[in-house]
Assembly symmetry: C2
């Protein structure tokens, strides 16, 4: 992506139609029955949700389906938010092949080694908005993008240290010293591959949606085990946590208009054209009205973590770039997340003001060294879309996990049952023994990933 492209794409010079008040959410696309999916063999399967025929939540058809490996489980139900469940999930074995480089300096061709060279596991949750189209595309595509990106750097990943030059020739003797000084490790290549895969997938989704006349976007939360490490990549407001006997550790941060306020305001400062004169980039405790004019009110700008006071001018009465609090916070009055995939066509209702320039598709990646962690049998990662975290805190989830697992040691499906139990505890069911009192009206999807023995991937090449 070049700056020219950025400007051509996002800074149109033409006149804009008069805007109307922005809508609260991207409107859903017409109902389309979701495809049901396969997950077997060496390519990840995708799992999605059924449409909801009646008022009570309905479990996904993936329930009870044999997964490619006995490690993760996605429980996806359709609650009361939309006519169709916009959450999608994918999981499976990740098989990285190896390219064999020719030894001749001028040799341009590469031979693809037919055998798997490195294997890992892959879990992904996609929470759609504006319809399920982007989430379905992401569930079908992202693992392929990731495999491709990993195969492009796998030679570097298995070297004692990633070499300066990938092809293994023309190396200066001092190159390894520079790599060492920069502290570049194999895991940095996996982080880079995850970042690139998210961007590549975003481009694919943009092309596919445009070609098929569909719209929408989705958040993406991905966990990958590879070479003894767990990678958690997050773009959006889903969350992954590590739960152990004595520890609860967040493995991701949420990216919303509130958490990314300064980045978003900074872009609006550098490119005020993106707001088309219809929004103010400043943050105020509430939306200002005419009788605030001339008053000194609390505000924050892009460079401020703290608050200050300013004298209200006419331009401060415009609709705020980021407005609302918590779950109600919206970017340009439209979107509740600031990172994710898709949304290439999303505009503020009845205007030409585009959301995409303010969104990032690149995830934040956390790395967990499982060899160092020495996971015990009941150490797990819980991945879930925001519907779960809206009503349960990390600590509440950990309490539910710790009260469930020890009593079900003999149950071979206990991790699946735990995922279901976590979802039920958000649904206000009377028969839920762990009911915490709050009810989620959002889609909820949960993966429970036991970490015990996950480090084995290291020895697979």
């Amino acid at each position: 992506m070049s700056a020219d492209w950025f400007r051509r794409r996002f800074l149109p010079g033409g006149p804009l139609p008069a805007p109307r008040p922005p809508r609260p959410r991207a409107s859903p696309v017409p109902y389309r029955r979701p495809r049901f999916l396969r997950g077997s063999g060496s390519s990840p399967g995708t799992a999605d949700a059924s449409c909801r025929p009646n008022a009570r939540p309905v479990r996904s058809p993936v329930r009870g389906r044999a997964l490619p490996w006995n490690a993760g489980y996605a429980e996806i139900i359709n609650a009361e938010k939309s006519e169709f469940n916009e959450d999608q999930a994918a999981c499976g074995k990740l098989c990285i092949r190896r390219f064999e480089f020719g030894v001749e300096e001028d040799q341009e061709w590469l031979t693809l080694c037919p055998e798997e060279f490195l294997t890992g596991h892959y879990w992904a949750l996609f929470d759609g908005h504006g319809g399920p189209a982007a989430a379905i595309l992401a569930a079908n595509t992202l693992h392929s993008c990731l495999r491709r990106q990993l195969e492009a750097v796998v030679e570097g990943m298995v070297a004692p240290q990633p070499p300066m030059h990938l092809s293994g020739h023309c190396i200066r003797p001092s190159d390894s010293q520079f790599v060492e000084e920069k502290g570049i490790r194999a895991e940095d290549l996996v982080v880079g591959a995850l970042e690139s895969a998210f961007q590549e997938c975003d481009e694919v989704i943009g092309r596919e949606l445009e070609a098929s006349g569909q719209v929408g976007g989705c958040t993406a939360l991905v966990a990958v085990t590879l070479q003894g490490k767990l990678y958690v990549a997050n773009a959006g407001d889903s969350r992954a946590i590590l739960v152990r006997r004595d520890e609860v550790r967040p493995l991701s941060s949420e990216f919303t208009p509130e958490t990314e306020r300064q980045r978003i305001q900074q872009l609006a400062f550098l490119y005020p054209e993106l707001l088309a004169g219809e929004f103010t980039r400043l943050e105020f405790p509430r939306r200002l009205k005419g009788d605030d004019l001339g008053q000194k009110v609390l505000f924050r700008d892009h460079h401020m973590s703290g608050w200050s006071y300013k004298c209200v001018e006419q331009s401060d009465l415009k609709y705020p770039l980021i407005h609302g609090q918590g779950r109600q916070a919206r970017l340009l009055g439209t979107l509740a997340v600031s990172r994710g995939l898709g949304d290439h066509q999303l505009k503020v209702l009845d205007t030409n003001i585009q959301l995409k320039p303010f969104l990032l598709s690149v995830p934040q990646v956390t790395v967990l060294d499982m060899d160092q962690l020495e996971p015990q049998e009941e150490d797990i990662v819980v991945m879930a879309t925001d519907g779960l975290w809206d009503v349960l805190s990390n600590e509440q989830v950990a309490r539910l996990v710790r009260s469930f697992l020890p009593g079900n040691r003999e149950d071979p499906h206990r991790f699946s049952e735990l995922a279901q139990m976590l979802i039920h505890s958000t649904q206000g069911k009377d028969d839920s023994p762990t009911q915490e009192g709050q009810v989620s009206y959002d889609d909820v999807s949960v993966f429970v990933i036991p970490l015990h023995n996950q480090g084995q991937g290291r020895s697979s090449h």
Copy 2:
């Protein structure tokens, strides 16, 4: 600062002269004898360094001087880096007056209450580069900017919660609810005031340097105690740490081209004109040469935390936007820090490429609740310029502190002696009992701030 201003200022359209290889550091201004300083009464004093007449480090004339309160001590010596010491320091009592607002709605005038309303303490270290001019200006100016910014919001600071409207009338009944939902506290106003004060001081320095035909910049590290809290604001590569009997806690982060790589690369991505076609924004493990062309080499771009490989093109052979490692890392081949004050005129040698658009004057602010901390008698904050931290880790400093203080309980000057001892331990002196083996050739300035009883400021209004 508007975007128009930013573009007018930093995006000139004219042709540029052919650049030469960038210089390693901003060149020093001609020697100018530094002023010695005042520090008494209610306005902070400034402390600076003597010029070095011979090869051995010389202590500042501030040594032994009675400070306005018995709490901090700046030991500033001139080591072997430059002909004059570019470090500057200031400390003193911070006295905030109160504006009295008229009760009539149309009443525009304000009465300045003649008495101090809130008091706190202020310590600041400024590490100059390209000459001491900016550091001297900062030491003379920043505390006034801060006092002005605090006086503008002091009504909000002493309210149970900062009010939506400052002047105390025209408040909607629901306003306090919005302030509460946003979680805005009195300390957020102090953070905002510190952020604004740094920016205001930067503008003053820009005007003063231009008017007097001087150049240069400086880092700024400020500690303020106010209303039972300690605020540490940092823009640059100085550092403050909290040392207690069982705890060492960083109170600041360093801002260098390496730590702010993504922000700097992002700006170069959005505004490639800023590089005038002479630099590449990409990071490589080492500078690329002609025989790297066509090879796949390790690289990072603005959106990447991890690393990947790319095929080297001609444009990748340009000088990197950020080059070098650790202490050698330079922004545009010129500057070792990415935040600070001044540098308005700084250009890459013999080009029109400006450094200022890549620099931030806004600090990162850390807040320490001293009432909650309940500081013991030997709990201190150590503030020091990078010369100290280049040769001593946080843990080494803590060890020196803990070995020194308990044995000197009766010495009324023990905190001053500790500051001196810390500096001596970086100078490779044979008689230093705590010599750790490494020698700093940079300027070194240290404040030692005992926290015991610092919370008393709360009751002063």
